[in-house]
C-alpha cells in the first residue's frame, strides 16, 4: 500500500514469475517447448519432487478409496473392539495392540482400529484442506489481480480490507463463530451433521486465509501491468475482463500454483490446531487433527497411538512442503537448479 518494495515480496518467498518467453526462445534452437513442458521436465528430473509427489498421490488415493479399503481391510471406522482392551482400556498385546487384523493397533478406551480411522481421517482433513485452499486462492487471486491492475481507490480499499482481515485474531474468532453458527442452524441438543461442520470450517478458513495470496498476486500484477504486452492489449481495445484473466492471469500461474501447494499443508495443520481447541470436526467423524490431539495424553502409556497418526500427518505435511518447494524451483526459470 505504501512501500512498493514491501509489496513485491511474496509472503512465502515465492520467486517472481520470471519471463517464460525468454526461456522458450533460448531453447528454441533445440526444440520448441512451452514453458509448461519445460517446468514439467524440470520437475521430472527432481528426485525430491517425484518422491514427495508420489507420497502425496498415494495418500490421496488412500483417502479417496477409504470405503473400498475399509471393505478390503474388513474393519469399519466406527467398529469397536472392546474385547481386545484390558481392564484399564489399554489395548492388549505389544505396541498398542498391533496384530494381523489391526495393522496400527487400537485406540485406547474406545478400541477402534487406528489404521482405518487414519484412512478416513485423512479423507476429512485432505478434503477440508483442498477445498479451503481452492476457495482462498480463488478469492485471493481475484482480489489481488483487481487491486493490482486497477490501482487507485480500488487498490486502497482492497488493501485496507486485507489489513483488517490480517489484524483479526483468527483463533479467537474461529472459537467464537464456529459454535454459534452451529447453534444457529441446529438446536443445542440436535446433532450437527459432519458436512455442516466441514462447511463451517472451510468458510472460516476462507474468510481469513485469502489475504496472503491477495498480497502476493497484487505485488506480481503491479510489476506486470507496466509491461508491453499489457499495453499492446490495451491499445488493441481489450476489455477489462480480457486484460485481467486472459493477459495477466496466464503470467501468474506459477506463483499461484506454488501458493496453493503451500496453502494446503497450512490448512491441514490449521484444522489440527482448531480441533486442539475443541472446535474442529466432532466425534464420531474420523479426523486427522483431532486424532493427534486426542492421542497426546497417551504419550507415556501408549506411545504407538501417538506415533502412527503423528508420523503420518508429519509425512503428509512434509511431502506437501517439499513438493511446493520443488514446484517453485521448477516453475521459476531463474532458479539455478
Amino acid at each position: 500500500m505504501s512501500l512498493s518494495g514491501v509489496e513485491k515480496v511474496a509472503p512465502d518467498g515465492a520467486g517472481p514469475v520470471g519471463e517464460p518467453e525468454v526461456t522458450s526462445t533460448e531453447r528454441k534452437a533445440f526444440v520448441g517447448r512451452s514453458p509448461g513442458q519445460l517446468a514439467w521436465a524440470r520437475l521430472r528430473r527432481d528426485r525430491t519432487a517425484m518422491v514427495s509427489g508420489g507420497v502425496l498421490v498415494l495418500m490421496m488415493v488412500l483417502a479417496l478409496a477409504a470405503p473400498l479399503i475399509s471393505k478390503l481391510y474388513g474393519v469399519g471406522p466406527n467398529e469397536q473392539f472392546q474385547e481386545l482392551l484390558d481392564g484399564n482400556g489399554m489395548p492388549l498385546g505389544y505396541v498398542g495392540g498391533i496384530t494381523g487384523d489391526h495393522w496400527f493397533g487400537l485406540e485406547p478406551r474406545l478400541g477402534r482400529d487406528i489404521f482405518i480411522r487414519m484412512v478416513y481421517g485423512m479423507r476429512t482433513s485432505l478434503f477440508i484442506a483442498f477445498a479451503a485452499a481452492l476457495v482462498t486462492t480463488t478469492i485471493g487471486v481475484v482480489a489481488g489481480i483487481v487491486a493490482g491492475f486497477l490501482g487507485g481507490i480500488v487498490d486502497t480499499v482492497i488493501s485496507w480490507i486485507t489489513d483488517v482481515a490480517l489484524a483479526l485474531p483468527f483463533l479467537i474468532f474461529a472459537l467464537a463463530v464456529v459454535p454459534t453458527v452451529a447453534l444457529r442452524f441446529y438446536g443445542p441438543r440436535e446433532e450437527v451433521p459432519a458436512w455442516f461442520q466441514v462447511t463451517v470450517l472451510i468458510g472460516i478458513f476462507a474468510a481469513f486465509g485469502w489475504t496472503s495470496t491477495a498480497r502476493l498476486v497484487r505485488g506480481q500484477v503491479i510489476s506486470l501491468r507496466e509491461r508491453e504486452f499489457v499495453e499492446a492489449a490495451r491499445a488493441s481495445g481489450a476489455g477489462l475482463g480480457h486484460m485481467l484473466f486472459r493477459q495477466l492471469l496466464p503470467n501468474l500461474w506459477a506463483p499461484i500454483l506454488v501458493a496453493f501447494s503451500l496453502a494446503v499443508p497450512q490448512y491441514i495443520t490449521g484444522e489440527a490446531a482448531l480441533s486442539f481447541l475443541g472446535i474442529g470436526i466432532l466425534e464420531p467423524t474420523a479426523d486427522f487433527g483431532r486424532m493427534i490431539f486426542q492421542s497426546i495424553p497417551y504419550l507415556q502409556t501408549d506411545p504407538a497411538y501417538v506415533f502412527f497418526p503423528g508420523i503420518t500427518i508429519f509425512a503428509l505435511v512434509l511431502a506437501f512442503n517439499l513438493f511446493g518447494d520443488a514446484l517453485r524451483d521448477a516453475l521459476d526459470p531463474k532458479s539455478s537448479r
Binding site: G13, P169, T180, N321
Partner: protein, 328 residues
C-alpha cells in the same frame, strides 16, 4: 517521512476502528444471549435483568458501541456492581472474573510478552543464522541438515512438539520444572526455567519459516552484481556477506517477522494451552468459552493493536535497513 507516518497512522486508526466494529457486531450481535455467560452461578431472572441493565444491553447497538469507545478514550461510570468509576482506558467489567478488564489484561499481558519476546529473538537468530549458513555453504551436508531441520519444524504441530518436550525434559529427565510463569523481576532464573520449553518449541516451529526464507533470499542476493562488485574491489568475505548481502536479503524476513511477532503478541493460544500458562491467548479462549464479552472484546482489540503497530514498525525498519526503499 513525516507525511508517510501521518498517513500510515491514519490508516492504522481506520483499521482498528473497523476491527472494533466488526468484533463488536460479531460478539454483541450474536444470537446467543450474552448475559447467560456473565452470571454463571445462581442466576435468577431478576439478577439477569439487572446485569442486562447495567451492561446497557437494552440500548441500541450504535449507542452501546459509542459508550464502549468513550470508555476507552475518556473513561466512564459503570454501575456500582461493576466497580463504579472506570478510568480511561476503560475496557469494561467482567462478571466472570469479577474484576475490571484492564486489571485482567495488566496481569496476563506480561505473561504473553515473556513468552513471545525471548522466543522471537531465539527464532530470528536461529532461523536467519541457519538460512545464511545454508546459503553460503550451499549443497554441503551443513546445508542439507539446515534444510532438513527447517522442513521438519514447518511440518510439525506446536502441541505435538510441546508435549514431547514436556515428556522428555520435565517428566523423564526432570531438567526443567513444570512450566509456569514467575514475574521476571521476582526471580529471573525461575522465570526463564518456567518458560524455556515454550520458547524452544515456538522457536523450533517458527525458525523453520525464517530459515527457508532467508536461505532463498540470500541465494538470490548473492547472485546480484553489487555483491560481486564488493568482492571484486577486495572487500573481506565476512564484510560482504555480513553487511552488504545480509542487509538486502533480510528485508522480506523483517516483513514476515513483524507480522508473526505482532500476531503472536496477541496471544499464543496453542502454546499457552499446551504448557498451561495463563497468558493473553488463554484468557481470550477462556473468555470465549464463558461468553465473557467485555474480555473477548478487549483481547481482540489488543491483539489487533499489536498487529497494526507491528506493521508500521516493519515499514519504518524497512526503510532503515534497505536504503533502496523510499517511504512516500
Amino acid at each position: 517521512m513525516t507525511r508517510f507516518l501521518v498517513r500510515r497512522l491514519l490508516t492504522a486508526v481506520l483499521t482498528l476502528f473497523a476491527v472494533s466494529v466488526l468484533s463488536f457486531l460479531m460478539f454483541f450481535g450474536l444470537p446467543r444471549d450474552p448475559v447467560s455467560g456473565m452470571c454463571p452461578k445462581n442466576c435468577n431472572a431478576e439478577r439477569l435483568e439487572r446485569v442486562r441493565e447495567e451492561l446497557g444491553l437494552r440500548d441500541p447497538l450504535v449507542e452501546q458501541y459509542a459508550n464502549y469507545m468513550k470508555g476507552i478514550v475518556v473513561g466512564r461510570d459503570l454501575g456500582s456492581s461493576q466497580g463504579g468509576r472506570c478510568d480511561a482506558p476503560c475496557l469494561g467489567y467482567s462478571y466472570v472474573n469479577s474484576e475490571a478488564v484492564t486489571d485482567t489484561l495488566t496481569r496476563v499481558l506480561p505473561v504473553t510478552l515473556s513468552i513471545v519476546i525471548p522466543a522471537a529473538i531465539l527464532w530470528l537468530v536461529l532461523g536467519v543464522g541457519l538460512g545464511m549458513v545454508s546459503a553460503l555453504r550451499r549443497g554441503t551436508v551443513l546445508d542439507r541438515l539446515a534444510i532438513g531441520f527447517s522442513l521438519t519444524g514447518a511440518s510439525l504441530q506446536l502441541y505435538f512438539v510441546g508435549a514431547v518436550l514436556l515428556l522428555i525434559f520435565t517428566y523423564n529427565l526432570r531438567i526443567t520444572p513444570v512450566p509456569g510463569y514467575t514475574p521476571l523481576f521476582e526471580d529471573p532464573v525461575k522465570w526463564a526455567s518456567g518458560l524455556v520449553l515454550a520458547w524452544f518449541s515456538l522457536a523450533f516451529l517458527f525458525s523453520a519459516i525464517y530459515a527457508r526464507l532467508s536461505r532463498a533470499q540470500m541465494l538470490e542476493t548473492l547472485s546480484e552484481d553489487f555483491v560481486r562488485t564488493a568482492r571484486a574491489k577486495g572487500l573481506a568475505k565476512r564484510k560482504v556477506y555480513g553487511r552488504h548481502a545480509l542487509r538486502a536479503a533480510i528485508t522480506p524476513v523483517v516483513t514476515i517477522a513483524g507480522l508473526d511477532v505482532g500476531s503472536a503478541l496477541g496471544g499464543t493460544v496453542i502454546t499457552e494451552t499446551t504448557f498451561g500458562i495463563q497468558g493473553l491467548g488463554r484468557t481470550a479462549v477462556d473468555a470465549v468459552r464463558a461468553g465473557d464479552l467485555p474480555t473477548i472484546m478487549a483481547t481482540v482489540l489488543i491483539s489487533a493493536v499489536f498487529i497494526v503497530v507491528a506493521n508500521i514498525v516493519v515499514d519504518i525498519l524497512y526503510a532503515t535497513i534497505d536504503p533502496r526503499v523510499r517511504l512516500r
